[in-house]
Every structure is written in structure tokens, then in C-alpha cells.
């Protein structure tokens, strides 16, 4: 008789060993105001529109605060403030500008726990991620770009730089404060001022950041934060005094922006959607690769533009790999974002959960085999079980379209060229993953994958020094690193 593999433990054992007691992060010290106005010219103002929207906790659907809806007039006022401030900000000695950013970095570090908790309450991401990934990176981003402020002449050999002017920045709900940092830090370092619009479901950390700006003595008007939904964003894009648009979000909206500013000469950088392929070669360290695949697709509930949403696994190891993967998925803890044990928190909003469910139904209708590791998820709040689709073909909707949730598709391949053909058969080109113990294979596959970011034997890593961004329909421009300065300067 064949001995039972030690790598596939009895599932009941898991029940015995991996039952964690709840370890919720305290919210006692969190003080949110009942309502937040628009942060314009260094002060909070009520919106001209008189309109407010609710910011909900997606894990329990409770109201966290009311947030202003900026009208066209409000947008105009913010742009005016930024325009006025820009002239002074640009003339300020570069080192002093840098020092303002250093201050912001420090204050963010000091208030990092508070920001993490609010981020998890407002967005639904596990506290483990907001505490260990998002907020530390926010501080790091400001710290990194602070240092560039007085060193720009070394970034662009042979050329002088000038700031672009007032930048309109629109960010998504998946990494609220981190995306704010990605946008504001390089813009300010290069001498620009900004009007930033957070996503409508996740404005709170940006508004707490506005408080931090005041504490850091950021000159009024240099950073303006206007909240609202799509109409606010559109008003910002159309405003004639905006010199540059920086947008992170869906490819559809990115295309709309590119078209909306056609012929205006406005600069733009776009970080758009993705459908990243994660390629597992047969000579990969499989256990590490399983962890990598889990991190690639289930990090932040899969609300990651660069998620490794398409698993491509070499046929010879696909069976054992899938077995390991399913086993690992069954051990993920889905639930309260504030619980320190939680791996997968709440889906950001009711509408996003609905969207994910629609995709899951399409996957089933198109004949894919579904595996969900969790039969039940919390009934209050917006939750989704980690989901796997096998028996999919390249043309399946769930393989082609970005789902932006914890849904992974699995395809197999026999040869490297088949893997690359499948990996690149998409209009997207943001991220890619390669798993193999053979260095030469990494470089070959890495050069052939059409993507702006390639993670080899790792996935979903970010750093302020490391340029990030997409090719093809995944976007234009880079954020992070020296290359992340380009969108915010004009060369002379």
C-alpha cells in the first residue's frame, strides 16, 4: 500500500490546531468626527453643494462619519487655492520643501496605529495589512521623496526641471492612504501643489491626513483634499487650471480621462487595471510558491490592480500544487478586519461584493469548476470566500476580465512558450510572477512577460524606491523611485 503523503494532513487536524481566539485591535482611542468638510487652503470647509455622503464600515455596515460631496464650485475653489500656493511652494528653497515632507513622514509614523485602525475600519482590509504594509509604506514614501526635493538635478542628467503646476489626483479605495502617499509625495517634492480626491468609500484616512498636514505646517493650499464621487472627479479632470492628472483606478475610467483631456496638453499618469499572470514552473520551490500564490491573489481581498489573478502552473506539477493550494486556502481566516489573526477582511463595498458575485456566476455559467475554501462567511458586512476556478480556457470571462476580488483562475501549460503566450494574451500589462529555482529561466521569462512589474519567486512587494506601473492598457507612467518623478516635472 502506498504510504499516505505527509504533505496532505487530515483536514480535521487543522480544525484542532488552527482555531484562534479572536484578537481584535482596540478602537477605543479612535476619535472620528461626525462629519468631515473639504480640506481647502488649509482649513476644513463645508461643501457649497450642501451635500454629504455616508462612510460605512464594510465589516458591519455601521456609519463611521459623514463626508462632504465637493461640487464643481468646490473643485474650482480648491484648484484656485492650489494655484495660489504653487507659486510660493515652487520658490521655497528646495531643502525646506523637503523638510515639510520629512515632517509629514514622521507624523505619519507617530500616528501609524491610529491610521491603521481607521484604514481597516473604513476600507475593510485586515489590520495585519494596514498595520504592517499600508501605513509603514505611507511613511516610507514621504521619507523617500522628501530627500529628492533638493536633488532633482541629479535625477535628470543634462536637463533642468520645472514643476508642472497644480496636479489633480484621483485615487482608489483599495489602498486609500498609500495611494495618497504615492500621489502627493513625488508631486510636492518636485514643487507642485495638489488637489486630491479620495475614493468615495474610503475618504477617512485622507481627512485625518489633512489634520496631519496642519500639524506639519504644510503651507495652506499646497495640499487640498476634496471628497466626493465620480462627478467630483470629472470636475477635477475638466478644470482648465489643472496641469496634470494623476489617476489610479479602472482602465475604463483611465480611457475616459485620456479622452476627456484630449487636445488640452494636460500631462497625465494612469495606474489602471490588471490581470496578472503568476507562472509556476515545475522546478519551482512549490511550498514557497503556494504562499506566493496566496499572497498574490488574496492580499487585500484581491482588491489589488497588480494581483496575480491568473495562475499558470506547469502540467507536471499542477495536481500536487492545486492540492497544496486548496489546503492552504482552507486555513485562511476570513472575518473581522480588526482581528489581528484575520487574513481576509471585508470586501470594500456592497457594490463591489455584488460585482464579484456576478463574476463568480459568469464563471460557473461558462462551465468552470469552482472551489471555495469557506462554506460560510460572516453574514453581516460584505464578505467573500476565497475562490478558485479550474477548467477555464483563455477566452473565459473570468480569465480575461479584472474581478478585483479574491478569485483566482487556474490554467496549466506544458512549455515555457505556452505559458508566456497565455500570460501575455491580455490587453493588460501591470504585473507578472515567475516561480522557478533556475535563474536563467527567471530572466528569460521575465523579459518576455509584458508587464511593468515582475515578481520572481515573490509577489505583491512594494517599496518607495522601486518604480511601479503598467504597460499596454494597464497605464502610463511610473510611481516610485527616480522614475516616479517624471510625471511631476517638465524638462528644460
Amino acid at each position: 500500500m502506498k504510504p499516505k503523503s505527509s504533505q496532505t494532513p487530515d483536514p480535521s487536524m487543522a480544525e484542532t490546531f488552527l482555531k484562534y481566539a479572536a484578537a481584535p485591535e482596540s478602537t477605543r482611542q479612535i476619535r472620528l468626527r461626525d462629519q468631515y468638510g473639504l480640506f481647502i487652503d488649509g482649513t476644513f470647509r463645508k461643501p457649497e453643494s450642501g451635500q454629504w455622503m455616508d462612510s460605512l464600515n464594510p465589516a458591519n455596515e455601521s456609519l463611521l462619519a459623514k463626508v462632504a460631496v465637493a461640487s464643481e464650485q468646490d473643485v474650482h475653489r480648491a484648484v484656485q487655492a492650489a494655484g495660489k500656493a504653487q507659486k510660493k511652494w515652487q520658490k521655497m528653497p528646495a531643502r525646506e520643501r523637503g523638510k515639510v515632507l520629512y515632517r509629514l513622514a514622521r507624523l505619519i509614523q507617530e500616528r501609524s496605529r491610529e491610521l491603521s485602525v481607521i484604514e481597516s475600519m473604513d476600507g475593510g482590509k485586515p489590520i495585519r495589512e494596514s498595520r504592517d504594509v499600508d501605513i509603514p509604506l505611507v511613511a516610507a514614501w514621504f521619507f523617500y521623496y522628501a530627500g529628492w526635493a533638493d536633488k532633482l538635478q541629479y535625477a535628470f542628467p543634462g536637463r533642468e526641471t520645472t514643476p508642472v503646476g497644480v496636479c489633480g489626483q484621483i485615487i482608489p479605495w483599495n489602498f486609500p492612504l498609500l495611494m495618497l502617499a504615492w500621489k502627493i509625495a513625488p508631486a510636492l517634492a518636485a514643487g507642485n501643489t495638489v488637489v486630491l480626491k479620495p475614493a468615495e468609500t474610503t475618504s477617512l484616512t485622507a481627512l485625518v491626513f489633512a489634520d496631519i498636514c496642519r500639524d506639519a505646517d504644510v503651507p495652506p493650499g499646497v495640499i487640498n483634499i476634496i471628497t466626493g464621487a465620480a462627478a467630483t472627479g470629472q470636475a477635477l479632470v475638466h478644470h482648465p487650471e489643472i496641469k496634470k492628472i494623476a489617476f489610479t483606478g479602472s482602465t475604463a475610467v483611465g480611457k475616459w480621462i485620456q479622452k476627456a483631456i484630449a487636445g488640452t496638453g494636460k500631462k497625465y499618469s494612469l495606474e489602471l487595471g490588471g490581470k496578472g499572470a503568476n507562472i509556476i514552473f515545475e522546478d519551482a520551490p512549490l511550498d514557497q510558491a503556494v504562499e506566493g500564490v496566496i499572497n498574490a491573489i488574496f492580499f487585500n481581498q484581491g482588491h489589488v490592480c497588480c494581483a496575480g489573478a491568473r495562475l499558470l502552473v506547469q502540467e507536471s506539477v499542477s495536481e500536487s500544487f492545486l492540492r497544496k493550494l486548496k489546503h492552504r486556502m482552507s486555513h485562511l481566516i476570513v472575518g473581522d478586519p480588526l482581528d489581528k489573526n484575520t487574513d481576509i477582511g471585508a470586501i470594500n463595498s456592497a457594490s463591489q461584493l455584488q460585482r464579484i458575485k456576478e463574476y463568480i456566476n459568469i464563471g460557473l455559467a461558462e462551465g468552470a469548476q469552482m472551489y471555495q475554501s469557506h462554506e460560510t462567511v460572516p453574514s453581516k458586512g460584505y464578505f467573500c470566500s476565497p475562490t478558485l476556478f479550474t477548467d477555464v480556457s483563455q477566452s473565459n470571462t473570468v480569465v480575461q476580465e479584472e474581478i478585483f476580488g479574491p478569485v483566482l483562475t487556474v490554467q496549466t501549460f506544458r512549455t515555457p512558450s505556452e505559458a508566456l503566450e497565455k500570460a501575455n494574451n491580455t490587453p493588460y500589462g501591470l504585473s507578472g510572477g515567475v516561480w522557478t529555482d533556475k535563474g536563467s529561466k527567471i530572466f528569460q521569462a521575465g523579459s518576455e512577460i509584458q508587464a511593468g512589474v515582475l515578481w520572481s519567486n515573490t509577489f505583491n512587494k512594494f517599496d518607495p524606491t522601486s518604480p511601479f506601473g503598467g504597460v499596454k492598457e494597464s497605464g502610463v507612467g511610473r510611481e516610485g523611485g527616480l522614475h516616479g518623478l517624471y510625471p511631476y516635472i517638465n524638462l528644460r
Binding site: K255, Q258, G263, L454, T458, T465, S466, V476
Partner: protein, 299 residues
């Protein structure tokens, strides 16, 4: 005595390494401001049509994009050293035909001296960019000191297929600069020469043909800009657009088409093409993407 009749050249498109006529079968007359020496009859003097250029169509554009796509990967995969040598070889071939190109340019109404200068600048520009192939990633790439145990580096990579719209002013230099700055970095191109003065750019195809440039890397199609901007700029397999024409209306049109598939698009005022902007690695970088690679470090 019988005067010998000059044998005139038929100007054709250059697609996939071959000289072909437009599938439309149509041409448009290219008029010159001065008169070529063999145009002596009264009729010719009154209406100096220098040549008939192909009036390219949507189908020609599609054909060219297919060839450009097919050629791009192989071209980008060649070593930087080899690409540098090939670009340098174009310079050699152009130098060899200097007199020929100078004369052709004078037909467009350019003084002999200015024409010679334009050809020389074109040659030197090729030499300039040839030297960048194996330096671009050293100057514009980076090793990034990330705060986790990873080795992390970023390198420029070619954008893919680029559509180029050349200026009327100094038409040869415009075409040569575009090829040198854009294709040197591993891109393939569909190049639309000046509508009014396309001849020197079309002849440049012959130089490319004899310079070891793989077929399809550069495709040159003449035509009426209003007719071909649309299909080329909206083509879903084109990754970038380089626009050096100075029509504000076409700028908005190109931008809108670019938005269909997030094409990279740059508009630059060409002037006479002698400004530093056109002899610069930053021009090359407009048609490069930065790829970042991560790998863990550890035993």
C-alpha cells in the same frame, strides 16, 4: 540631336522590407517648389509634379502594423551592440548617397546648401543615436535599494509598435530622427512622412533596405494625413504615437484615438528639428517603458 530621357524613379511605400504600391491603386501628385533639371517642357514647368506618391489606405496601414508587430520582438531581442551597429550602418549608407538626397531635397524648394546641411545633420543624428543602444539602460535604469531582502532593478524596455507622423519642415531629418530615436531603442515603427514633401523619406526606405535593418522594423507609407491618421492612430495593435506635425486639430484627434487602448502619445513642435530636444536620450525614453524586477535575497 536626341536628348536622352531621364529614367525617373517610381516612389513606393516600404512595408515589411518590400517596396509596394498602395492597395488602393491611387496616388497623389507631389509638387515641388523648384524644378528638377529634367523637367524642361513648358507643360512640366507650369505644373511641376515631381512624382506620384502612394495614397495609402486603412488596409495599407493594417498591413504595415502587422509587419511592424511581427518584427518588433526579434528586433528588440537583438543585442544592443548589434542594434547599434545596424543604426550606424544606416548612417554609412546615407553618407554614401549624400549627393542623391541633397538633390532630391532641393526639388522641395530647399537651397542646395540647406539641403546638404540637412542630409549631414541626418547622418550625424544616426551616429548619435547608434551610440545610445548600449548606454540607455545604464543611464536610465536603476538598482533600487528596497527596504526588504530583495534584489530590485528597473530597466528601460521598448514600447512596441510606434506610429510616427513627420513634419513638413526638413522632411528627411524628421524621418531619420524619428527612426533613430524610436527604433534604436527596440521599437518598430509605422512612419508617415510629410504629406507635402514625402519623397526624401520614401527614398530613405532604400537606405534602410540596404542597411541590415530587419524587414518590418521600419515601415514608411505616404498619403494624405487626414485619411491615414485615423486608421493608424486608432489601431489597437499600435502602442505609441509620435506626432511632430503642428496641427492643433490633429492633436486632439490623435489624443482621442490614443485613449482607445491607452497609447503613449507625444506631441512636439518640430520647428526645423535642430533643437537639442531632438538629439536627446529623453526623446528615446518617451518610447520606452520601465520594467521593474524583484527577487528575494537569502540562503
Amino acid at each position: 540631336m536626341n536628348k536622352r530621357l531621364n529614367v525617373r524613379k517610381t516612389y513606393k511605400n516600404f512595408i515589411g522590407g518590400a517596396f509596394v504600391r498602395s492597395e488602393s491603386g491611387h496616388v497623389y501628385g507631389v509638387t515641388g517648389l523648384s524644378i528638377p533639371p529634367d523637367m524642361n517642357t513648358a507643360q512640366e514647368k507650369a505644373n511641376p509634379i515631381l512624382a506620384q506618391a502612394c495614397r495609402s489606405t486603412r488596409k495599407d496601414i493594417r498591413e504595415a502594423v502587422v509587419h511592424a508587430r511581427k518584427a518588433q520582438n526579434g528586433w528588440a531581442s537583438k543585442t544592443a551592440y548589434l542594434r547599434g551597429q545596424i543604426i550606424y550602418r544606416i548612417a554609412e549608407m546615407l553618407e554614401d548617397r549624400k549627393a542623391n538626397f541633397t538633390e532630391e531635397l532641393t526639388w522641395a524648394g530647399i537651397s542646395k546648401r540647406a539641403a546638404a546641411k540637412q542630409v549631414e545633420t541626418s547622418i550625424d543624428r544616426l551616429v548619435y543615436y547608434a551610440g545610445w543602444t548600449d548606454k540607455l539602460s545604464q543611464v536610465f535604469g536603476s538598482v533600487n535599494p528596497v527596504a526588504t531582502p530583495h534584489f530590485n532593478f528597473s530597466t528601460p524596455e521598448p514600447l512596441g509598435v510606434v506610429a510616427i507622423f513627420c513634419a513638413d519642415e526638413s522632411p528627411l531629418l524628421s524621418a531619420v530622427t524619428a527612426v533613430a530615436a524610436i527604433c534604436t531603442g527596440g521599437n518598430s515603427a509605422v512612419l508617415i512622412p510629410s504629406q507635402a514633401y514625402p519623397l526624401s523619406a520614401l527614398s530613405f526606405g532604400e537606405v534602410l533596405h540596404s542597411s541590415d535593418v530587419p524587414p518590418g522594423v521600419v515601415n514608411i507609407l505616404s498619403g494624405i494625413h487626414n485619411e491615414i491618421m485615423d486608421p493608424l492612430a486608432s489601431h489597437m495593435d499600435v502602442n505609441g504615437i509620435c506626432n511632430w506635425t503642428d496641427h492643433p486639430a490633429s492633436q486632439a484627434l490623435l489624443d482621442e484615438h490614443a485613449a482607445r487602448n491607452i497609447k503613449r502619445i507625444t506631441h512636439q513642435s518640430w520647428g526645423d528639428g535642430t533643437s537639442d530636444e531632438f538629439e536627446s536620450p529623453y526623446l528615446m525614453m518617451q518610447f520606452q517603458e520601465i520594467k521593474t524586477t524583484w527577487h528575494p535575497v537569502g540562503y
